[in-house]
């Protein structure tokens, strides 16, 4: 009985700690306005992707040939029925943008998960095992980094045929090496520390040392890397779809919409512009959050920020004559 009460108290204590941690994190986020805006934008995008059927005013694939190439609502011939205008088949641009967010976020998340997991496992293996495992894995990574990735992707896409799955596979194959390198170097640094040595002396198994003692130390650099990679993948998916090697026509994708708009660039500027803005905002938001993450996870940077804050406070105190 007493034990149960004790453990439940412990548990709630831990939850309070987490809550406090979360609160201080959000406070810090609030202080970095750019990061805060980025986070808000990402939240809005996620909401948009999840609730696409509720938010989209029209079916993204519904054609209306009488309302072809309508300009956005604020220009002279525009209608409020199609706020961002329509394309060459009379499809609603706004609805296509809303549905397109699903593809970008899905491909980004899938590639980051697959490439990240594989890269981290390889990096952990190389760094922890060392010796021959290490040299084989690192040679592999070096060789693959020296490959012209996109061109190999082109050959694979040409032979297998483009689809969302092929795009995810190709981008994952090309993107895991960064995680591997970073994890390995971090593991090598952490391995030397006393607590890892202590864990080994106490008799922890290899996987316990790796997952309980080493991996948690890599969380923040890996998270920052994953976020940066997410931005890169969103751009890469858009580029592949633009080239006609990514998402294929019945489906919607921002890159694909830019490609179709390209043929009407002289008559309908909004067809190219709108999906491009959507891609740019998404990637910018992710980049803003990534640069905020890098700042708060780097102790040196935090120290600098702290010093700056103290200096401001002192100056203020002097100015008010206290």
């Amino acid at each position: 009985m007493a034990e149960a009460a004790y453990s439940s108290k412990m548990l709630s204590g831990r939850w309070q700690d987490r809550l406090r941690g979360l609160r201080s994190l959000t406070q810090e986020l609030w202080r970095d306005k750019a990061g805060f805006i980025g986070m808000l934008l990402i939240a809005a995008l996620l909401l948009m992707a999840v609730a696409a059927p509720l938010l989209a005013p029209h079916d993204p694939a519904a054609q209306d040939l009488r309302a072809r190439l309508k300009p956005p609502a604020w220009s002279a011939q525009g209608t409020w029925n199609h706020i961002l205008g329509t394309d060459h088949l009379g499809r609603d641009v706004l609805s296509r943008l809303i549905y397109g967010s699903r593809v970008s976020l899905l491909v980004g998340a899938a590639v980051v998960t697959i490439a990240g997991t594989f890269g981290v496992i390889m990096g952990l293996l190389a760094g922890y095992r060392g010796g021959r495992t290490d040299s084989i894995i690192m040679r592999w990574i070096d060789t693959q980094v020296a490959f012209p990735g996109l061109l190999l992707a082109l050959i694979i896409l040409a032979v297998i045929g483009p689809s969302m799955i092929t795009v995810i596979i190709v981008l994952s194959l090309n993107g895991w090496m960064v995680y591997g390198r970073m994890t390995r170097s971090a593991v090598l640094a952490v391995r030397q520390t006393a607590y890892v040595e202590a864990a080994e002396i106490v008799g922890c198994r290899a996987h316990r040392v790796i997952f309980r003692h080493i991996l948690p130390n890599l969380t923040s650099p890996l998270l920052t890397l994953a976020i940066l990679e997410f931005a890169r993948i969103v751009l890469a998916e858009a580029a592949l779809s633009f080239l006609g090697l990514g998402i294929q026509p019945p489906a919607t994708s921002w890159g694909l919409d830019v490609a179709t708009g390209k043929d009407y660039i002289f008559r309908a500027w909004w067809l190219v512009t709108m999906p491009g803005i959507a891609i740019s905002i998404t990637v910018l938001a992710v980049n803003l959050v990534a640069s905020w993450m890098r700042l708060i996870s780097d102790p040196q940077e935090r120290e600098k920020q702290f010093a700056r804050k103290m200096a401001v406070r002192q100056r203020r105190r002097r100015a008010t004559g206290q």
Binding site: A146, F147, L152, A239, P275, G276, V283
Partner: protein, 306 residues
């Protein structure tokens, strides 16, 4: 030094070998080249004849040895689309891609040094923060879209510049700018951060204390020490430009280089030409990698020992 270069050359050959194997495996074993290259309504006899022409009716190991021999002689066969040797097309298109890359990377490099240094002189200041913000935007805008925006603004609205073709110097301005801007954004960031690191070093203070002029301290002493990460990134961006950005930029501006040709080869299901392009670009990338490694040792004498 000689042994180091030899080792890099060996690694390069391994990479090229790897590319060749992957190209072979992907085209012959994962996919069916006959199905990709012949039209759907081709008869069985046509298929068999085509298989024989490509040598696909023989055992896979024989095919592999043949393929490696062809690659070594730079003979990939005739392009199915243009009916002439694939390597001939590659050599015809390659200079255009190299010109575009040189203009783009050169422009980015020349602009990034002063911009990065100005930002680094007062970290956290107005010029620094605006540089970082503009660079972040530059990193976030998709390159193909940037090119299309340039076309809308400078060609469609203002009629200042041509949108496609290679006839005059004016034709390279828009593709070159499109190539340069994302690279510039990344380069400015790295020049800035490595200059900030160097300007905080004590030798900079010593330089000022000795009375060396400001420009000499920043432009000669600090810049030289900051140049290693910058050179690394320039090398990387050159590789990415040749083996990646060029495909996108050339497609947007109909610039008839290797990148556009690769896309056209895919559209026309010409695997022979595509193989030749991928192989040539791989060789080029490996060569740039080796040149980069040699350049490091010239910039930083400490690396010569390694």
């Amino acid at each position: 030094m000689g042994r180091y270069i030899l080792r890099r050359l060996l690694h390069g050959i391994i990479v090229i070998f790897g590319v060749t194997i992957i190209v072979f495996v992907v085209t012959r074993m994962v996919g069916d080249p006959v199905k990709v290259m012949l039209p759907l309504e081709a008869t069985l006899e046509q298929r068999a004849a085509f298989e024989k022409q490509l040598g696909l009716d023989r055992p896979i190991m024989v095919q592999f040895v043949e393929f490696m021999g062809d690659v070594a002689r730079l003979d990939f066969g005739d392009s199915l689309w243009q009916h002439r040797p694939a390597m001939e097309i590659v050599f015809e298109k390659l200079p255009l891609t190299l010109v575009l890359t040189a203009v783009g990377i050169g422009l980015a490099f020349v602009l990034s040094i002063p911009l990065g240094i100005i930002a680094a002189l007062r970290p956290g200041g107005v010029s620094d923060r605006s540089t970082v913000f503009v660079s972040l935007i530059g990193l976030s805008v998709p390159q193909f879209w940037l090119g299309l925006l340039f076309i809308v603004v400078f060609a469609v609205q203002l009629h200042w510049l041509p949108t496609s073709g290679t006839a005059t110097i004016a034709h390279i301005i828009l593709p070159g700018l499109t190539m340069a801007l994302p690279v510039l954004a990344r380069l400015v960031m790295i020049v800035r951060s490595s200059m900030i690191d160097e300007l905080n070093q004590q030798y900079v203070q010593t330089g000022y204390a000795k009375g060396i002029p400001f420009l000499r301290v920043v432009g000669l002493h600090a810049l030289r020490n900051a140049s290693l990460p910058v050179a690394t990134l320039v090398g990387w961006e050159t590789i990415r430009a040749i083996a990646g950005y060029s495909v996108v930029v050339e497609t947007v501006f109909a610039w008839p280089g290797l990148g556009l040709t690769a896309i056209q080869a895919i559209e026309r299901e010409d695997l022979i030409l595509l193989q030749a392009i991928v192989f040539s670009v791989a060789v080029l990338v490996v060569m740039i990698n080796i040149l980069m490694d040699i350049a490091y040792t010239l910039i930083d004498p400490r690396l010569r020992l390694a």
